[in-house]
C-alpha cells in the first residue's frame, strides 16, 4: 500500500474516532425520585359556607392515608406550606405554582367545601405544578356523613390519573370478628372505619367472599349446627342458605362472572372441590382423591383454580384446569405447610401463607411456579391473604400485636398497617370491588 493510501486510512480512522463524530449517549437506569412529591392542603370553606374545621380535617386525613398507602407519593410536610395553601381559589390561574415548586411539590391537591344543613358539596382538584395545569377535578355532593367516602373516591381518582387505573379505596372489607363474643361477619371501609355487623348468627361464621356482580356476600356459618354456605344481600339484609350438603360446605369462592362458586364439600366423607351454581345446585366435582382438597381460588379468566391439598404428603398448592380435563399440577414445593392461596385479579401472581418455623408468613409466586417472593417478615403469623380488586394491595390477618387483626399493605409487602382494633380477634378479610 502506498503512502497516500495509508494516510487516507489514518485520516478516516481519526475522523471516525474523534469525539465530535461519536454521538454522546447517556443511560439513566432509574428515576432519581421514586415517589412523587405531593402537597395536600387543608380543605377550605367556600365563600358563604359555614366553617367546619373538623369536616375539613376528616377529608384531609382520609385522603392522606389513602395516598400514603398507595406508595406513589412523598407527602410534603404542611408546616412548610406558604401563602397559597390558605387561598381558596381552585382554578389553575388562581394557584401560585411557583410557590409550590419552591417547596419541591410536583403534584398538588387543593379543595373546598360548602355546608348547607346536613348536606355538603366538596370540590377537589389535582394539579401538576410543573405543567401548571389541573390534572383532574371533581365536585361531590352528599350528606355530611359521606365525606369519608367522598375522600376515598377522590383518592381513587388521583390514582386513576397518575397510574391509568382507578384505586381500590372506595370499597369495603368484610371480615370475621368476635367483638360481640361470637364470630360474626362485619363490613368496614378499607381503612377499618365505619364498621357494620352483618350477621347475628350467634355461632361461628367463616370465610366470606364478595359476589363480583352486586353487593352480596357468601360465607360459611354454623347457624344451624352444620357448616353450611350462605349468601347475604348487604343492603336488604336478605340471607339464603345456598349449600347444605352433608358435612363441610366451606371455602366458597365466586367465579369472575358470579355464575359459579367453587367450594369444598365433604358429602362423600372426604373434602373435595366442587363447582356449584349461584343457587347451590352442584355443577361438577373437580377433584377425586383420598387427600383433603380445600381453599379454592379462581384464576381471573375462570379457567383454573389454585387449591390446597395434601395429596403428596404435606399441604401444598396445586392448580387444576376447570375447563376440560381437570389436569392437576403442583405449584409449591418449598416448606411443609402452604395454605390459603389467592389468585391475583391480574392473573400474574398467587398469594399464599407458609409455615416458617412456628409461624405463618405471606408469599407470592407466579402461576408457573417461578419467582417466589416472601412478602412479610417479623413477629406474628400472617394468614388469609386476599387481593384488592386492582391487584395492587393485599389484606390479611396478623397476630403481630397480640390478638388477630386485619392488616392492609402493598402487593410488594411494604406499607403494612393495621385497620381493625387490636383488642379483639378479626380474621378472614376480603376486599370488595368498587362500592358504588
Amino acid at each position: 500500500m502506498n503512502r497516500i493510501g495509508q494516510l487516507l486510512i489514518l485520516l478516516s480512522l481519526l475522523l471516525v474516532l474523534s469525539p465530535a463524530a461519536l454521538a454522546a449517549r447517556i443511560e439513566i437506569s432509574s428515576p432519581g425520585q421514586q415517589s412523587i412529591p405531593l402537597a395536600l392542603t387543608s380543605f377550605l370553606p367556600a365563600k358563604g359556607s359555614k366553617t367546619m374545621p373538623e369536616l375539613a380535617l376528616e377529608i384531609r386525613q382520609v385522603l392522606e392515608a389513602d395516598l400514603d398507602l398507595s406508595g406513589l407519593f412523598d407527602l410534603i410536610d404542611p408546616k412548610a406550606f406558604l401563602a397559597d395553601a390558605r387561598r381558596s381559589g381552585l382554578l389553575s390561574s388562581q394557584v401560585d405554582f411557583a410557590e409550590w415548586r419552591l417547596l419541591g411539590a410536583e403534584a398538588l391537591v387543593k379543595g373546598s367545601y360548602r355546608v348547607e344543613g346536613d348536606r355538603v358539596q366538596v370540590d377537589v382538584r389535582l394539579f401538576d405544578t410543573l405543567g401548571r395545569r389541573m390534572l383532574t377535578g371533581r365536585r361531590y355532593a352528599g350528606k355530611i356523613k359521606d365525606v369519608r367516602r367522598i375522600a376515598h373516591t377522590f383518592a381513587d381518582q388521583v390514582l386513576k390519573e397518575l397510574t391509568e387505573e382507578s384505586g381500590p379505596f372506595n370499597a369495603k372489607i368484610a371480615f370475621i370478628s368476635n367483638r360481640s363474643g361470637r364470630k360474626e361477619l362485619y363490613l368496614s371501609d378499607v381503612d377499618g372505619k365505619d364498621v357494620v355487623r352483618l350477621t347475628d348468627h350467634r355461632s361461628i361464621v367463616l370465610n366470606p367472599d364478595f359476589s363480583p356482580i352486586g353487593k352480596e356476600l357468601i360465607y360459611t356459618s354454623y347457624k344451624n349446627g352444620e357448616p353450611h354456605l350462605y349468601r347475604k344481600e348487604i343492603y336488604t339484609g336478605k340471607e339464603a342458605r345456598i349449600s347444605r350438603q352433608k358435612g363441610l360446605n366451606i371455602g366458597g369462592r365466586y367465579r369472575f362472572d358470579g355464575r359459579e362458586i367453587a367450594l369444598s364439600l365433604s358429602r362423600d366423607g372426604n373434602s373435595e372441590l366442587y363447582l356449584i351454581g349461584a343457587s347451590g345446585s352442584i355443577h361438577r366435582r373437580l377433584t377425586n382423591s383420598s387427600a383433603i382438597d380445600v381453599d379454592p381460588s379462581w384464576s381471573p379468566d375462570g379457567d383454573q383454580i389454585v387449591f390446597v391439598s395434601n395429596r403428596q404428603g404435606n399441604p401444598h398448592l396445586f392448580i387444576i384446569d376447570t375447563a376440560g380435563g381437570k389436569k392437576i399440577r403442583r405449584l409449591s414445593f418449598r416448606g411443609t405447610y402452604n395454605a390459603s392461596p389467592s389468585w391475583s385479579p391480574k392473573g400474574d401472581r398467587i398469594l399464599f401463607s407458609r409455615l416458617e418455623g412456628n409461624r405463618f408468613d405471606l408469599f407470592s409466586i407466579r402461576p408457573d411456579g417461578s419467582d417466589e417472593q416472601r412478602l412479610t417478615f417479623g413477629a406474628g403469623s400472617k394468614e388469609h391473604p386476599r387481593w384488592s380488586p386492582d391487584g395492587r394491595f393485599v389484606t390479611y390477618t396478623s397476630d403481630q400485636d397480640g390478638k388477630k387483626a386485619i392488616f392492609v399493605m402493598r402487593a410488594d409487602g411494604t406499607g403494612n398497617r393495621r385497620i381493625t382494633d387490636a383488642g379483639v380477634d378479626s380474621i378472614h378479610p376480603v376486599w370488595s370491588g368498587p362500592w358504588k
Partner: protein
C-alpha cells in the same frame, strides 16, 4: 598432578594486576559517601525546596460533578461566609450616622479632631448643621403614627412566612446536600474541568437529569420501558431542543421523562460548547430489585 596443572597455579591476568588495594577502595568509597551526603544535606549546594504538592482527596461516594470546585449544582452555597466580612465594613461606617442624628442637638461643638479617626473622614463636614435627610426624618418623627391596616399587616405576615419557609427549605436542602464525609476536602480537579474519575459534562448532565426524573414504580405495571431522547443545550446550559427518538409508548413514563428534561430549561452550569446528547431512560435498576 600432570592432569590438572592449572588447579593450584595462580595466573595473573592484566586485569587483576591493575586492581587497587583494599584500603584505597575503602577510602574512595568513604569519600564518595561524604560527597553525596554533602550534596544532599545542603552543606555544599543549597537545598532544593520543592513547593508542597496539593493533596486531593477524591470522594468516590459523591456523584460526578461538572465543576467540582464550584460544588455540586444543588449545593453550591457554602455555609461559611468569610468573604462577607469586608462587605460589613462599610455598614459599620454607616452606623454612626444614626448617632449624630440623635446627639447632634446636644453637642454644641463636636471636637472634630477626636472623632475624625473613629467615625469617618466626613465627620467634620457634618458641622454646618443637620442634613436635608435628617430634617426630613425629624419631621416624619413628629407626625402622628398611623396604624397599619389589617391587610397590610396580613400581607407583611405572609411575606415573612414565605421568607421563613423559603429559608428553611433552602437551608434544609443545603444541609442535606453539602454534608461530606471528608470536610473541607476539594473534590475533583482544581480547574473544575477534570477528566479523571468519570468527571465529565455528559456524566454530570446524566446525574442532573436523573435527579430531576421522578416516577414511582407503583405508577407502572411493567418495568421494561425504554425511551430515548435527544437533548440539545447551548454552552450556557440553556435547553435549545429535545425530541423523542424512541418513545416508550407508555404515556406516564414518557411524561415523566419530558418533565425531567423541562424541569430545568436553564442548567446551573455552563458547558465547553454546544451539548447534544442522546439520553436513554429505562428502569433497569428497578427491575433488578
Amino acid at each position: 598432578m600432570l592432569m590438572r596443572p592449572n588447579a593450584t597455579k595462580t595466573v595473573r591476568t592484566p586485569a587483576t594486576s591493575r586492581q587497587p588495594k583494599l584500603g584505597r577502595l575503602v577510602v574512595l568509597s568513604l569519600a564518595l559517601h561524604l560527597l553525596i551526603f554533602g550534596l544532599m544535606s545542603g552543606v555544599i549546594l543549597p537545598p532544593r525546596k520543592e513547593p508542597p504538592r496539593p493533596v486531593y482527596r477524591v470522594n468516590l461516594v459523591h456523584r460526578p460533578v461538572k465543576d467540582p470546585q464550584a460544588g455540586r449544582p444543588d449545593a453550591a452555597v457554602s455555609r461559611k461566609k468569610p468573604p462577607q466580612k469586608p462587605k460589613t465594613a462599610p455598614k459599620a461606617a454607616i452606623v454612626p450616622k444614626k448617632a449624630p442624628v440623635k446627639k447632634a442637638p446636644v453637642k454644641k461643638a463636636p471636637p472634630a479632631t477626636k472623632k475624625a479617626p473613629v467615625v469617618t473622614k466626613k465627620a467634620p463636614a457634618a458641622d454646618p448643621g443637620p442634613s436635608y435627610e435628617e430634617i426630613l426624618s425629624r419631621i416624619e418623627k413628629t407626625r402622628p403614627k398611623e396604624k397599619p391596616s389589617i391587610d397590610a399587616t396580613q400581607s407583611r405576615i405572609d411575606e415573612l412566612r414565605n421568607e421563613l419557609a423559603a429559608l428553611a427549605t433552602s437551608e434544609l436542602a443545603v444541609e442535606q446536600s453539602t454534608i461530606s464525609p471528608v470536610p473541607e476536602a476539594p473534590a475533583g480537579m482544581p480547574q473544575g474541568r477534570g477528566t479523571q474519575a468519570g468527571v465529565s459534562e455528559e456524566l454530570w448532565l446524566g446525574e442532573h437529569l436523573k435527579r430531576n426524573w421522578s416516577l414511582s414504580r407503583y405508577q407502572l405495571s411493567r418495568l421494561d420501558l425504554v425511551a430515548t431522547v435527544k437533548v440539545v443545550y447551548d454552552a450556557g446550559g440553556n435547553l435549545l431542543d429535545y425530541r423523542f427518538l424512541t418513545p416508550s409508548g407508555n404515556r406516564l413514563f414518557d411524561d415523566s421523562v419530558k418533565k425531567a428534561i423541562l424541569k430545568d430549561k436553564k442548567l446551573p452550569v455552563e458547558f465547553a460548547g454546544r451539548m447534544e446528547v442522546d439520553v436513554e431512560f429505562n428502569l433497569k435498576e428497578l427491575a433488578e430489585r
